[in-house]
């Protein structure tokens, strides 16, 4: 069960945080995922990612798949913003810090926009509930003020796609449209 200390941060509805410990049944290593944890995410694909200092990935939102991520080493500042009009936490923004020396797994539902910032070299894993396709990736500018996220950087390294991403309003409209078409409403 997640430790209560992790739940002080108010997170968008459906975002699940789970403390990972190495004293379970595995005896060797830290269990990062088990089917019988019954998270809402059922992974079909796992990716391993290395990021350099001052990299920002995002902000992305997926209309149909869940993400489940864990930091292996380093530190990730996670920015979240709820874009689901039917959610009780619609438009809630939240920030959460994940560090490799205190591992947690966090599941992010469809329709919750997310960005990752790495102040130092960081490696992390993420699992997807659907195979990755470019069509499943919506995004907006990381620094759009409407996100309500205060990143600790003014000039991060961005992918070309993230640098040229939509505005918040454009993303919000696209996500609302995709969710209304039944592409992943909770």
């Amino acid at each position: 069960m997640p430790s209560p200390t992790f739940l002080k941060a108010r997170l968008p509805e459906g975002v699940a945080l789970r403390e990972l410990s190495d004293d379970g049944n595995a005896r060797e290593g830290t269990e990062i995922y088990r089917d019988d944890w019954q998270l809402d995410v059922a992974p079909v694909q796992w990716n391993f990612v290395s990021s350099r200092s001052n990299t920002l990935r995002g902000v992305h939102a997926h209309p149909s798949h869940w993400d489940y991520l864990q930091v292996v080493s380093g530190e990730l500042l996670l920015g979240l913003h709820d874009l689901r009009p039917n959610s009780p936490t619609y438009r809630l923004a939240a920030e959460y810090r994940l560090a490799g020396d205190r591992p947690v797994g966090i599941a992010i539902p469809p329709g919750v926009a997310h960005g990752f910032y790495f102040a130092s070299p960081t490696t992390y894993l993420y699992a997807l509930s659907c195979y990755w396709t470019i069509g499943g990736e919506f995004g907006c500018r990381w620094d759009d003020p409407a996100l309500g996220l205060s990143w600790p950087t003014s000039d991060p390294l961005l992918s070309p796609r993230d640098a040229n991403a939509w505005s918040y309003d454009h993303l919000a409209e696209a996500v609302t449209g995709a969710l209304a078409q039944g592409l992943g409403l909770p």
């Binding site: 049944n25 060797e28 290593g29 796992w46 391993f48 292996v72 490696t123």
Partner: protein
């Protein structure tokens, strides 16, 4: 050194995401192994995955810090976690180490011959 271990039901899926690991493999079940025992080197310089079927004994040796990801097809079951001494000569594994750090369980693991006999019994029971 972690190992040498073998499972009768579980498949392992291994990826070295940080550092380097040398994996020793030895077929415990085949009467005449299709592939001889040997060592495989994996490192973060070129990500690869290794799939280890049931019956293939395996040990992991790292000379430095290393982070391994391990996917398992079954939940951890001590009854399916059999082991023998990493330095049993019958394994035919030419490890690049003399006195590696071992877990208590791996240090006290039984010799190869006992594991082989145990597997024979298990296979007969399952087949039988």
């Amino acid at each position: 050194m972690r190992g040498v271990h073998v499972h009768l039901r579980n498949w392992d899926y291994v990826c070295a995401v940080e550092g380097e690991v040398i994996i020793g493999l030895h077929d415990m079940l085949a009467k005449r192994p299709a592939v001889p025992a040997g060592l495989v080197r994996m490192s973060d310089a070129r990500l690869q995955v290794l799939v280890i079927p049931p019956g293939i004994a395996h040990g992991f040796y790292s000379s430095g810090p290393c982070t391994l990801l391990l996917g398992a097809s079954t939940y951890y079951d001590p009854a399916d976690h059999l082991a023998c001494r990493w330095d049993s000569h019958e394994l035919g594994l030419d490890w690049p180490c003399k006195a590696p750090e071992l877990s208590a369980r791996d240090r006290d693991a039984e010799p190869y011959s006992k594991l082989k006999a145990r597997l024979r019994t298990e296979a007969e029971t399952a087949g039988g």
